[in-house]
Amino acid sequence: MSLVGARVLRKEDPNLITGNGQYVDDLQPAGCTSMVFVRSTEAHAKIRSIDTAEALVLPGVLAVWTSANIAQLANCPGGLPGLDQPLLAKDVVRFVGEGVAVVVATDRYIAADAAELIVVDYEPLPAVASLSAAMAPGAVVLHEALGGNTVHFQDFENPLDDVFAAAPRTASLHIVNNRCAPTPIEPNVCLADWGRSGLTLWAAFQAPHHLRNTIAQYFGIPQDSTRVVAPDVGGGFGAKINFVPEFFLTALLSKEIGRPVKYTQTRSECLVAMLHGRAQEHDASVAFDNDGRILALKLSVTQDQGAYPNGTGMGLPVLTTAMAAGCYRIPAVAISWRNVVTNTTPVAAYRGAGRPEASYTIERLIDLIADETGVDPVEVRRRNFIPVDAFPYATHSPLAMYDSGNFAGALDELLKHVKYDELKKEQEKRRQDPAAKLLGIGFASWLEIAGFGPPGSLEAFGHLASWESAQVRIQPDGSAIIFTGASPHGQGTVTTYAQIAADELGIDFDRISVKHGDTAVVPQGIGTMGSRAVAVGGEGVKTASGRVYENAKRIAAHLLEASAEDIVIEDEKFFVKGTPARSVPWSEVAWKSFQPLELPGGMEPGGLDSTVFQQVPNFSFPSGAYCCVVEIDRETGGVNIVNMYLVDDCGTVINPLLVEGQVHGGVAQGIAQALFEHMLYDPSGVPRTSTLMDYLVPAASDLPGYVTGRTNTPNPSNTLGAKGVGESGSVGAPPAVVNAVVDALSHLGVKHIDMPVTPIKVWNILEGAK
């Protein structure tokens, strides 16, 4: 029986449900000390002086550092040359939350006390806390080296003025894609121990080898004695692939004081210091005919990079503009983007990283076309879909060569669940009844780019390469250990990889272990991000397992005095096809694989061990169709999601239980962006949502249940056929929710509402219509 596709319970769970997980903050090596930051309370200011005298003499304090202590060190890796963030602010702070000083003490309470005693004298500078402020004439400049606040501007190659001028109809939207804080429930945590035998850094991180390579390079130390361990990691969502000063400071301080140094971020720090996501503004225009067929699309993206632009953040508008056309055949597409610095927390990847922004805008435009033409939104989608026989489909972007998809099929599947005609009648009825809640129905046919990626794709973000490693190593008793460079943080990779390997090796699922997250254990690796763990890493497990199995068959054939081509396996027993009575068990093949006298000629001992650096020729393109049904309270403006219908096409499903979990989680974050979450700054750059009292991460009582469905167009770029599913929900949900709200209010002439759609925004619209 194949395990790929089976609802298998997770191997990860027994530890995690009993309190036996091991997160970085759970580690407490002998002599462990605690590091605490003093973070800037100013958005933009000169540092006149830092008085550390009182902190230094507090009993238990081991070190107090400011930029003066590390003046010779390079800035934090990952930034843009000349615009990168110092490990500790030097002379100037550029956002609230930037590190100004650190204290190390014998315990966290003393370290926090000492941090309170440090007095920083700031000379405030004017701050720019929004894109419009940063781009205004005469705006204060964050980085003198830049001259202005625009880091990079990519203009339209052809602004399509003639197409728009000649089009029967056009429409435009200015869209704000709200800044979100990724907020994994485990904040950033790291623990460094730099002794005579080298540096070990335990870190809540998604890509330990990437961090190992970088930290070794940064300090000029050899990689063989630099070890990074990401043990259990409490969620990442893209925010734990960024290099932050914490890693380098704990390492340095450990070397300095000769003891392990741990940093455990508080939530309030996390909300301002862990890199944010989204933070784009779009100017989007679409040209179309009277039947709702799209003739041209023009998208200009302005990306808020925060105070210090980094490689990942710079990549966000590239991905957004590459995916601008979504599921649709659009004859002419023009794209432009601009990266701007502001006095806010730096921006980088957050679940979807550039693709939710693309999907949101094109799906809002589709509904706008429906509104303008009177053609039903479902029908507008159908009239513009790329047809199923058009793949591979070249888009306007060389990055996005769509490999496969069935967008109409997903929409058909969705409409089996949604009683659309009844809902539309109910909507009309309620509009006539002032006591009834308004009803809205919103659709999103979404598409994203995932499975990062083909050669060159991750190198562009500073990674060593874009493959993923897999090593399959048979033990003498016939059990198997798989080592993977894809370092999970909740995805269930241990389970899915064991499923894949069990099918390929013919070894029982319970006798397969998966090891990850330790550069001293896993040969090499890239990491888990961009929905790549199964599409790239899982494919590697399949490839390596297949190679091991072929070698195992050769040994079995030798023992059975048969030909390897005739060998099959069942219930962990190898036999010649058709004669199961005479068999050799996996355990015997494994044992003898280490004994030269038992091996066929030319075969070396230890041959049941294969390491693969799995490459894939293209990105993957998960897609789907979602529908959200909302009710709106006319008195309060409150939006309540009544139903959320979700049809995903992630290609082959390895484990339906885990895929459903990924979809739910992504959708929850998408709903959160649409209705609740917004990292807000006041005009002076002070964050107004810097604790969980203000930043609304939804609870169970805030979110709906989900109805899920599935279509399957296999991924042609790997033999598994899997596309990835980790980010899909956050790509598909926001437009479905906002389209539903706008639909509910469309009779009042509402064309668009920016996220998050809070009760006050809706209430103001309802009041204005009275």
Binding site: D13, I185, H489, E660, T691, M693, A699
Partner: protein, 163 residues
Amino acid sequence: MTIRTSITVNGKETSREVEARTLLVHYLREELSLTGTHVGCDTSNCGACTVLLDGEAVKSCTLLAAQVHDCNVTTIEGAAQADGSFSPVQEGFRQEHGLQCGYCTPGMIMASTALLSENPNPSEEEIRQALEGNLCRCTGYEMIVNAVRWAAEHPNFTSGGAK
């Protein structure tokens, strides 16, 4: 200022001389090395630190260890049954994929355990309301609701010993 604090944790008496300001969660994690109870925020919003105090769900980041002197505390390490079987709630989370990264899970399990002891057969709505003080960023909550329902439907679950 230090204070002698005695707390019964998972049925075992513990006693430590701690700083008066020591939070219960740090007493559990750092004095007793019971690291299953996690810290996820500093404003009592996230519930990752939820434990049972004399049977009631409380946030151990919001209590001083000294405040619970002479009380009974149950942490995730004490959630399993006497024979080592997972509790129905633990097993429900496993069966229904009620966890992904696992960081909020101990708090979720303890809050769910308290709910079921008060209301052995909660509706979906009652579960969602009861867990509103516990944040999960991974699951979108539906599978957590299903996990609690599983536990409600299998009150006598036993795996027949240690797992």
